[in-house]
């Protein structure tokens, strides 16, 4: 490689970094004008930090029981009180953040690509492929979702993994529909026509031209779905099919805490607050992402 070429590349690298930096700057700029979105990002960041540093932050072990200390109201020793086994609720919430994030991310990682690909392929291919894929989507959609989840939990044995699969199984159709709707629009744009003119192959069109246009709205939808995932996990927990004890999954915590709601409100309220804050944050982030990524549907 010649010196000059290297310098050019070097410069390009700098420019690349600069470009990235600039667009990041721009995004952050936009965000700062959206205080609610900022708040959402901040809460999520905090949550992730808490999840990562759980062992250092949590004042107690999340699973060690202390039966004589059961059902203590919030106090300075137990900021969020203790549950029916005398476990410190705050510590459980802190550790639970890990599980909750893991659940939400796993479902999202399954549902996002599956929904996106099915939707985009259906929208792009049209005709019979579209009809078949969309009918399949309709069928899954018309399945009573909790029943399907229950069936899977029954088949594979209760547990968080099963819950994730079950939630994912019923979670992709809305994403697929959304992606298809987007793909249908994008398919008819002039830039796709132009790409056909220079001989781009269908796969190239699909992955380089159409899918990238559907991703933002899919991402936005996914972030907003996250609250729903936590809730479905809670409903499965209610029926005993979610995370298994002693795992401090929030949904399981709130659903086992409900048995004490009247006398010991904190057992169910504390995880409720955690879920509420998190899903609020996800929704705010979703809204903010919509502004950033998806100018077509942007709020202003």
């Amino acid at each position: 490689m010649t010196e000059a070429k290297m310098i050019v590349q070097h410069n390009a690298l700098h420019q690349g970094a600069g470009r990235f930096y600039r667009s990041l700057q721009k995004s952050i700029d936009k965000l700062t004008r959206e205080p609610l979105g900022m708040l959402g990002f901040a809460v999520l960041a905090l949550l992730i930090l808490v999840a990562i540093f759980a062992p250092w932050i949590a004042p107690y072990s999340p699973i060690t029981q202390n039966l004589p200390q059961a059902l203590q109201p919030p106090s300075w020793t137990h900021l969020a009180g203790t549950d029916e086994f005398g476990r410190d609720i705050l510590s459980r919430l802190i550790y639970g953040a890990r599980i909750t994030i893991q659940t939400v991310l796993s479902v999202t990682v399954i549902v996002g690509p599956v929904g996106l690909i099915i939707g985009v392929v259906a929208g792009f291919a049209g005709g019979r492929t579209d009809a078949i894929l969309m009918r399949a989507t309709d069928i899954v959609l018309s399945f009573p979702s909790l029943i399907l989840a229950l069936a899977f939990a029954a088949a594979l044995g209760a547990g968080l993994g099963t819950a994730i699969i079950a939630i994912s199984l019923t979670g992709w159709p809305p994403i697929a529909r959304l992606a298809r709707a987007e793909a249908l629009i994008v398919r008819n744009t002039d830039y796709v026509a132009a790409a056909r003119l220079y001989g781009a192959s269908p796969l190239r069109l699909l992955f380089l031209y159409i899918a990238p246009m559907c991703i933002p709205s899919v991402v936005v939808r996914l972030t907003m779905n996250m609250a729903g995932i936590i809730l479905t996990a809670a409903a499965l927990g209610f029926l005993g099919l979610g995370a298994q004890p002693p795992s401090p999954e929030w949904g399981a915590m709130i659903s086992s805490g409900r048995k004490f709601m009247i006398d010991n409100w904190w057992v169910a309220v504390m995880p409720g607050i955690a879920i509420l804050l998190t899903s609020l944050a996800f929704n705010l982030v979703g809204d903010a992402l919509r502004d950033l990524l998806d100018p077509r549907h942007a709020r202003s």
Binding site: Q15, R19, T189, D190, Y191, A193, A194, A195, R196, L197, Y198, G199, A200, S201, R204, L208, Y209, P212, M213
Partner: protein, 245 residues
């Protein structure tokens, strides 16, 4: 360069069949610039899209560069003609940087990386090399249309099909783009088919113009006719009258 015989295009099926283009024939010589004018919906774009190979609903015969082409084009046939679209906002992928936009045709045709051709392509349409790193939304309408033209030219086609390339642009910007197109044709001897509803644009750019109404050509005007406002059909007379109010 282009020969079209009995081109018919119909959309829909059965009771919904709609004959959009009705048995039109025309030819364009190498280096010539042909204009097609007509009202909205008369079938101008459809003719152009059939020529380019985007629509597959046509019957008849199309030959490009003395070679009869089919509905499914080979890479070589695609290379003959490229198209520039009306809307500069919609014809460039909003998430691709300009360098990618310009390199894509080459890459899609598996003719190399394509990145090396970007500076030249930009230069050819009079854009600074720095634009390569921008996204389309960072460009003005006129600049985008230049990029679209550059993209069409990257593959070195001999024919450029222009579908209302300036109707989304301001007069002042339109002038720049039209000038660019004239220059390019002069320099490279391209063959143009230019579709527009604006007679003055056609008159400025074209050696010959066809007037289209309801899927058929009702009139043919040469450069002199255009300048003098001479027409041979009632419809084109109306068109002239209202165009130059």
């Amino acid at each position: 360069m282009i020969e079209v015989e009995n081109l018919e295009v119909a959309f829909g099926k059965g009771g919904n069949l709609k004959q959009v283009v009705k048995a039109v024939s025309f030819s364009v010589a190498r280096g010539e610039s042909l204009g097609i004018v007509g009202e909205s919906g008369c079938g101008k774009s459809t003719v152009l899209r059939s020529l380019a190979g985007l629509d597959r609903h046509w019957t008849g015969r199309i030959s490009l560069n003395r070679q009869s082409v089919d509905k499914n084009r080979t890479i070589e046939q695609l290379l003959l003609a490229q198209m520039v679209f009306q809307d500069p906002y919609g014809s460039i992928h909003p998430r691709h940087r300009i360098e990618r936009v310009l390199a894509e045709p080459v890459r899609a045709m598996k003719k190399g990386g394509g990145w090396d051709r970007v500076p030249k392509a930009l230069e050819r349409v009079g854009l600074p090399a720095g634009f390569a790193e921008r996204f389309p939304h960072e460009l003005s309408g006129g600049q985008r249309q230049r990029v679209a033209i550059a993209r069409a030219l990257v593959l070195e086609p001999q024919i450029l099909l222009l579908d209302e390339p300036t109707s989304a642009l301001d007069v002042s910007v339109q002038a720049e783009v039209l000038n660019l197109l004239s220059d390019l044709r002069e320099q490279q001897g391209l063959t143009y088919v230019l579709v527009s509803h604006d007679l003055s644009v056609i008159a400025h750019m074209c050696d010959r113009a066809l007037v289209m109404k309801d899927g058929v050509f009702v009139d043919e005007l040469d450069r002199a006719d255009l300048q003098a406002g001479r027409t041979h059909a009632e419809y084109s007379a109306v068109l002239f009258q209202s165009s130059f109010l």
